[in-house]
Amino acid sequence: MTTTNFLRMKKWKMTGIIVLLLVITYGSSMITDFDMLKGLKSIPGTIAWMATNLIPDAAAMENLPKVLSRLWETIVLSVIASTTAAIFAFFFAIFGSKTTQLNRPLAFCTRLIASVFRNIPVVAWALVLVISFGHNVVTGYFALFISTFGTLVRMFVETIDEASADGVEALNATGATYFQMVFKGVLPDTMPQMLSWLFYMIETNIRSATLIGLLTGTGIGYLFDLHYKRLDYGTLGLITLSIIVIVIAIEFTSNKVRRMIL
């Protein structure tokens, strides 16, 4: 009977997908020598290690003023880089989204560029930028800008795609120009989600401390890198704690803002 077959087919499909995933998982474990059990067993040890090592001691607390001033630098840099990247990303996303694209080749190129920016390994950027610019805030700015831009274009494209095409259609029908349509039809609908992504990227950029630190020679990440390389876990704990506070603060603000806007 076809009905039974239909449901069974669907179940077979599901089972097939699950089996496929299991097979890939198993294959990956083989290739990389990954031992799930060992992983599970290590979790209590991890918590114990953190509890004993990552507690800031008195010596670490001496670094507090330095941590705070570096944290501030990081926040500033991250906001600047994210905001400017968002502006560029917005225009790229408009040309890249199905709803608002001018034509398909341009949309494809836009998405490709974003993908390239996003997927070139950080190490490679770091190499080029540090050789040329040395350790400098500007280096960090470029590195953050590049990766943020790449990510935001994708986020924004999806946001715009999801926003209904209805408003766009209606504005076109009234004889609105392209940019009128974008700014009055698309922007109001997508603004809350885009702001939420922007906040998310600011947070990410603060967290991707190690990268900025490596490139800029400033910021909390630099301090992290320094103390990490010296195995000074007390100070690392302090730095981590300060990042946690900022992350939670930003998440809180972002949620508040989102709720107000929606």
Partner: protein
């Protein structure tokens, strides 16, 4: 910019002033459209609409009603044929001139197509974009006359108390009235409505249809409506056009629409139709 004087409709206004209906607003000549360059979705459509006329297009799902409507303001490009609107051959226009012509054609959508986060007022004013430069539009620089025009239209549609509400707070019928206001603020000569009441409950449907009818009568605007409901079309139209598989099968006064015609237009589906 001349401001339309919007008078409260008087009871007499409802009786049609035939003297106005003279000038041809829209003429379609041999329009055809194919999406895939193989099958023709609509074909050989000839049509003339006069000023202030209220015309309904009926036909089964997939007949090409929406396609035809969208061809008129070139939201989709007709494959062949000419569209003469207000004396201009629209099919020949470049982008900028097309934009100019589109301002004179208002469009009302089944799903209202409003920018839901903006206020009623802002949505209505969007209808003025065609008259503005890009920058003016982006900055939202509307003249006081334009705002007054929008307000008077909203008042006429009974939406004045909602001007500052965000559109996502409105009911379906209210949204559709905003959609109509947006089209009217364009000061169009022609109003295209693609199933304006398909998403509405019966009460709201009646309100909307009454408004559309009134617009065509008191303001002399030509209204072309796609409808699924034959009974509604019969009740409101000056003229009915029947479409089936992209061809015009009927184009005459409502009273001339026979059961036979309905059967031709809707094919076998006719039995499912309910006439209350």
């Amino acid at each position: 910019m001349s401001t339309i004087t919007l008078e409260r409709p008087t009871e007499q206004a409802v009786t049609k002033e035939t003297s106005v209906v003279t000038e041809t607003v829209l003429e379609l000549r041999n329009i055809a459209k194919s999406y895939d360059m193989k099958t023709l979705i609509i074909q050989d459509i000839d049509l003339q609409l006069k000023q202030g006329e209220f015309v309904s297009i009926i036909g089964p799902s997939g007949a090409g009603k929406s396609t035809l409507l969208r061809c008129i303001n070139r939201m989709i490009e007709p494959t062949s044929g000419d569209i003469i609107f207000d004396g201009t051959n629209i099919t020949q226009l470049n982008k900028a001139s097309l934009r100019k012509q589109r301002t004179k054609i208002g469009m009302v959508f089944q799903h209202y197509n409003l920018v839901s986060r903006l206020t009623v007022f802002e949505n209505v004013l969007h209808g003025r974009f065609g008259y503005k430069s890009t920058l003016q539009g982006i900055l939202g620089l509307y003249t006081e006359e334009e705002k007054m025009l929008a307000l008077s239209i909203l008042e006429k549609l009974g939406m004045k108390e909602h001007v500052y509400k965000r559109c996502d707070q409105l009911s379906g019928g209210q949204k559709q009235r905003v959609g109509i206001a947006r089209a009217l603020v364009q000061q169009p000569k022609l109003l295209l409505c693609d199933e304006p009441i398909a998403s509405l409950d019966p009460n709201s449907s009646k309100v909307i249809m009454d408004h559309l009818k009134e617009i065509s009568q008191s303001m002399g605007i030509t209204v072309l409506v796609n409808l699924h409901q034959v009974d509604v079309a019969l009740k409101y139209s000056d003229r009915i056009i029947g479409l089936n598989r992209g061809s015009k099968l009927f184009d005459d006064l409502p009273k001339r629409l026979s059961q036979m015609d309905i059967h031709n237009i809707y094919g076998a589906e006719v039995d499912e139709l309910i006439f209350e």
